[in-house]
């Protein structure tokens, strides 16, 4: 095979005398399912040398996790049908159980994917680490009954082991390890569990550490801290590391080399900088192109056409052929050759045109052609250099005027796609004289939704007595504490913050799923309560889209039935319902046939479109979007974000856009609000807030975005620890215990949200904290660069079409 040959001629080769090298050659892994065989891995080759960090990147289902598990021979229920896995010259694919135990306990450590399920809930973390130590010491001598007995007592008996366990807990930055050693996994947060898993891996003092999505599902702040820790460990222990991730940012932050997988094959590999700056395989280009942070704020995102293969058949030709605009007949027929691009940089693509094409040109139109929308499709230049299906790859929305587009936007007459339907809309807008298109009322700058000093607290205890009796010492959790916000027609307000900061509760207060315990929510100037007390008109004003598209549709009802529900409740007759379903389906670019399908027959992206269609059914003025793309792959995310942008242009919607992903918010939002412990700590226009934040918390969130800080040293503002419990917020500024710029004042004075340069900030030192210490100058440089659209950090910006 070509690939094997290249393996031997590139990199540091497979010489057996290289100690601590893990090498994979032409690995094939298969799964048997009821509906036939799934070829999860089809000939993957790479190696990880001592002291090196290799990243394995790809979208969900590309076989990267199976590959990782095969390395330690935990591929079951899959089976390795071909290829070799070697460590230090030892062959693992044919090794017996005893050899494998030896290798696992001393050389190859894997940190599994999901920290919430990877620790045994029945044993203390101390015992789980100690077990790894015991096994490491004597892998062949594991006394059955004494090991069983150890589980019965919850404390560690052995002093020597205990001190070693404490040391390991310290190594992975668990605060107060002596207090935590006898705690159970459920008493730890996700980030802390990930650290414990890391400690279990380190207990074996491994030569190679395999980390499978080590930070997925964690807050970016926690993710940043764990990635830092991994980098330190790599430095200090000279350990080889294989980092598996779907997130190119994570990989480029940490890795020396990167391996890109698509449908079970390696399509490209090379030094991380080379692949990032000069992606050569069309798939790599597509993957990088879809990332929101690559694009201008509020621009359309490039997308990849087609859908990923399901691995049901072993592909003869190139796996990417169906989605590749450069595909030739040859690509279909035979395996593509491996082409050497530069030092250590290889790509599996035989079409030179494809390899040399610009990043944007590999990206397909995002199916938005059917939208009857004059606004974004423009920019004919974008089509110029591309041989195939490229449309509006880098096109900017026509109304794009930097961070200030709200004003322009509302002045634009908004043309609804279906004037008839608009006219039929129930007179929802009591305050508006014009019935035709409420959002086109450009003179009206009064907010659609307004929150005034809104509070929401939950009782901790649900016990009967506490519910029935007025007394009792049940604690209350203040999820939202005095938030005031306005949302105007046509604008997108991005709401960011770590998990548990109250942003989802805030969304529920706006939608009415929760009623505030203090303050008030106004819709078009009228104070409203929870959904049960809202009028039909008020209900129609607000639509909601949730994070998990699969769960937001009733599996027992067809798409059409789901979309019809709000119309039915609003009293629309049957014919109007059917017409409206057609209209909204075409608004979200779904074929009409979808109406008769059940949700499970749709992809995640399609399900999310249906959820958006249903939210739009009653022609709301506001959409509350709670992490609408968090569960989607990057390429799908891009199409959904584009769709949302188009719908906003077309219908003049206001969005409350909640996301933990600052890159997504940067792309989608006009204004950003950062939330911490139930309060807004900063509000301001996106451009300014995400480049020159006026609150240290916002800066910390920015600094935790992986990938952007590559090569800038470690002087960033990193958050340590995790947010304090909302049951007991700290005195003074809530952020002060974690704030690097905190002064003694901060622990006493609880600052107000005050106006600072174009926005508001809740920091005592809002105007000048960033200029205070000399070391923060570096941030400034970073931030200025960010402010200019990151062109400098992306050497390949020549490909941008603007």
């Amino acid at each position: 095979m070509h690939w094997t040959l290249t393996t031997l001629t590139t990199a540091n080769g497979g010489e057996p005398e290289m100690t601590g090298t893990l090498s994979v050659e032409d690995l094939h892994v298969r799964f048997r399912t009821e509906s036939g065989q799934v070829h999860a891995v089809n000939g993957v080759s790479f190696e990880v040398s001592q002291g090196e960090i290799v990243g394995l990147v790809g979208e969900s289902g590309c076989g990267k996790s199976v590959t990782a598990r095969s390395l330690v021979r935990l591929e079951d229920p899959g089976e390795i049908v071909d290829g070799r896995v070697r460590f230090d010259g030892r062959e693992l694919t044919t090794a017996d159980e005893r050899t494998l135990r030896g290798l696992r306990s001393t050389e190859l450590a894997m940190v599994p994917q999901d920290p919430s399920t990877a620790l045994n809930p029945a044993y203390t973390v101390g015992e789980q680490i100690a077990e790894a130590l015991r096994v490491h010491r004597s892998p062949d001598d594991q006394p059955f009954f004494s090991e069983l007995a150890i589980g019965v007592s919850s404390r560690l008996r052995s002093r020597a082991l205990q001190s070693r366990v404490l040391e390991l807990l310290e190594t992975v930055d668990i605060p107060r390890p002596e207090d935590r050693i006898d705690d159970y996994p459920h008493q730890f947060s996700g980030g802390m569990r990930q650290r414990v898993l890391l400690a279990i891996a380190l207990a074996r003092d491994p030569s190679v550490l395999i980390a499978d999505e080590p930070t997925t599902g964690l807050d970016t702040t926690t993710q940043a801290a764990i990635l830092d820790r991994l980098a330190d460990l790599n430095d200090s222990r000279d350990m080889g590391m294989l980092l598996i991730s779907h997130d190119f940012g994570v990989v480029s932050e940490l890795c020396d080399r990167v391996v890109v997988m698509y449908n079970g094959t390696v399509v490209e590999r090379g030094p991380v900088e080379a692949v990032r700056s000069n992606p050569t395989h069309p798939y790599t280009k597509a993957l990088l192109g879809c990332l929101p942070h690559r694009s201008e704020p509020q621009s359309r995102l490039p997308t990849v056409g087609g859908s990923p293969p399901d691995g049901s058949a072993s592909p003869d030709g190139c796996a990417f052929v169906d989605r590749c605009p450069f595909a030739t007949e040859d690509c279909r027929g035979a395996a593509p050759p491996v082409v050497h691009v530069a030092d250590n940089h290889d790509v599996r693509c035989g079409v030179s045109q494809a390899r040399e094409a610009t990043l944007e040109s590999t990206l397909a139109a995002d199916d938005d052609g059917s939208l009857d929308n004059p606004a974004p499709a423009g920019d004919p230049d974008a089509r110029q250099p591309t041989p195939a299906t490229v449309v509006d790859g880098g096109a900017v929305r026509t109304d794009e005027t930097g961070g200030e587009r709200t004003g322009d936007r509302t002045a634009e007459p908004t043309i609804a796609s279906d004037p008839a339907a608009t006219a039929e809309k129930p007179s929802a807008t009591a305050g508006d004289d014009a019935t035709a298109a409420p959002t086109s009322d450009s003179g009206d700058t009064s907010p659609v939704v307004e929150l005034e000093n809104v509070h929401k607290s939950f009782r901790e205890s649900d016990a009967l007595l506490d519910r029935v009796l007025p007394f009792g010492d049940d604690e209350t959790v203040d999820a939202v504490r005095g938030v005031s916000l306005e949302l105007r027609a046509g604008e997108t307000l991005g709401l960011v913050g770590e998990s548990g900061c109250g942003k989802s509760t805030l969304a529920k207060l706006v939608t009415g799923l929760e009623a505030p315990t203090g303050g008030s929510v106004h819709i078009r100037g009228e104070a409203v309560d929870g959904v049960d007390r809202r009028t039909n008109e008020q209900l129609a004003e607000i639509g909601a889209v949730f994070q998990n598209p699969g769960a937001s549709l009733n599996p027992k009802r067809t798409v059409g039935e789901s979309i019809a529900e709000p119309l039915f409740e609003a009293g629309w007759d049957k014919q109007r319902r059917i017409d409206r379903i057609e209209t909204v389906l075409s608004l979200v670019d779904l074929p009409l046939e979808c109406a008769d399908r059940y949700p499970r027959r749709l992809s995640g992206g399609q399900q999310q479109r249906v959820a958006i269609a249903r939210a739009l059914a009653l022609e709301p003025a506001v959409l509350v979007l709670d992490e609408p793309t968090a569960a989607l792959d990057v390429s799908t995310q891009a199409t959904v974000l584009n769709l949302l942008a188009d719908l906003q242009d077309e219908l003049g919607l206001a969005y409350l856009f909640i996301s933990h992903d600052l890159d997504v918010v940067r792309n989608a939002a006009d204004r950003v609000a950062a939330m911490y412990l139930g309060r807004l700590v900063e509000v301001g226009p996106t451009g300014r807030t995400l480049s020159k934040p006026t609150h240290p918390y916002t800066q910390a969130l920015l600094d935790s975005i992986p990938g952007d800080r590559f090569g800038e040293g470690s002087s960033d503002l990193r958050l340590t620890g995790e947010p304090p419990s909302p049951t007991d917020p700290p005195d003074g500024c809530a952020f002060h215990p974690r704030c690097p710029a905190a002064t003694p004042e901060c622990s006493r004075i609880d600052p107000d949200l005050e106006s600072v340069s174009e926005g508001q900030s809740r920091c005592l030192y809002a105007p000048d904290w960033r200029d205070g210490a000399g070391e923060t100058d570096q941030h400034r440089v970073t931030d200025e660069r960010r402010a200019t659209g990151e062109q400098q950090s992306m050497p390949r910006s020549s490909g941008d079409q603007r």
Partner: protein, 307 residues
């Protein structure tokens, strides 16, 4: 808990009034095998307090019951409490033996079945377990009597007292429960063996046998313990029938006999004792739960009122 116990006692007491018609009349007719006179009925009512309002009757019965006085049997003229104490040990003995039989059979079989999923071991044990839960235990009891006692002459046919008397009833009762528990252990183990922490243990280099028994079984037992607790109810149900089959003097035979002759104080006594025993067992199960599953706070999973 207390709510449940009060409810249980209320229902237990109210059974008397389920009987169609006047309970006093029915009881006396049953006793005398003929229609009683009005005077007899009146006298019986006064004696048993049946002429008072229901609430008063119930309160006085409950008050006595709390002090250990469950009334006097209509027929045997003996305090119900002492009758219960006389018959209880035989039933307890049977129940414990049956639980022991079932756990000894079920746990290894269930684990083996799950570990060797879809092999002949798994299929055989599943078929046996399916047959086990589908067989009426009174039928199984007679088959065992037929084979072991009548044909082979290994064990006595009926009665209680010796170990020989205990073997067949315990097997009859225990295998039925074993079948249920085997299936449960298997399901639970299959789920746990899929869990990521099992792979974490494997990736540490832990021996497969320890992976199965230390890491997987410990967690798989958590739901099993609950069901075993609930199976205590199954045991009590089964004990009634098995005792009748093997003619063991126990609470079951006592209950069935008393139901037929409408000896209500005994019926109430037996029902109350079994129900309370059942509630208490479930409380104990919850304690075991807390011990097995560190995620559950003590007191957080009460059977009932404190939930």
């Amino acid at each position: 808990m207390s709510v449940v116990l009060v409810g249980v006692s209320l229902i237990t007491y109210a059974f008397v009034f389920l009987t169609p018609g006047d309970p006093a009349y029915t009881i006396l007719r049953e006793q005398q095998q003929g229609p009683p006179s009005d005077a007899q009925v009146e006298a019986f009512r006064a004696e048993q307090g049946l002429d008072e309002p229901f609430v008063v009757q119930y309160a006085s019965w409950l008050g006595d019951a709390v002090q250990g006085d469950l009334g006097i049997s209509y027929y045997r003229s003996e305090p119900v409490t002492s009758l219960l104490l006389e018959y209880l040990p035989n039933t307890l003995e049977l129940a414990l033996a049956a639980v022991a039989v079932s756990l000894l059979l079920a746990i290894p079989t269930g684990v083996a079945s799950a570990v060797h999923r879809d092999t002949w071991i798994d299929r055989t044990s599943q078929i046996v377990a399916l047959t086990g839960i589908s067989m009426p235990n009174f039928w199984l009891g007679y088959l065992l009597i037929l084979v072991c006692s009548l044909w082979l002459g290994l064990t006595p046919v009926s009665g209680a007292g010796t170990l020989g008397h205990l073997v067949l009833p315990a097997i009859t009762l225990g295998t039925g429960m074993a079948a249920v528990v085997t299936r449960l252990v298997r399901t639970s183990m299959l789920e746990v063996l899929d869990a990521e922490y099992v792979d974490t243990a494997r990736s540490k280099g832990v021996r497969e046998r320890l992976v199965v028994y230390k890491h997987a079984l410990r967690n798989a037992l958590i739901p099993v313990v609950t069901i075993v607790g609930l199976q205590f109810g199954f045991i009590l149900n089964g004990a009634v029938i098995v005792e009748v089959v093997f003619q063991r003097p126990g609470l079951g035979t006592l209950l069935v006999d008393s139901i037929f002759i409408r000896d209500y104080p005994i019926v109430q006594g037996v029902v109350l004792v079994t129900a309370v025993a059942f509630v208490v067992t479930n409380q104990l199960v919850d304690l075991a739960y807390v011990a097995l599953d560190p995620r559950i706070e003590p007191g957080g999973r009460g059977v009932s009122a404190n939930e």
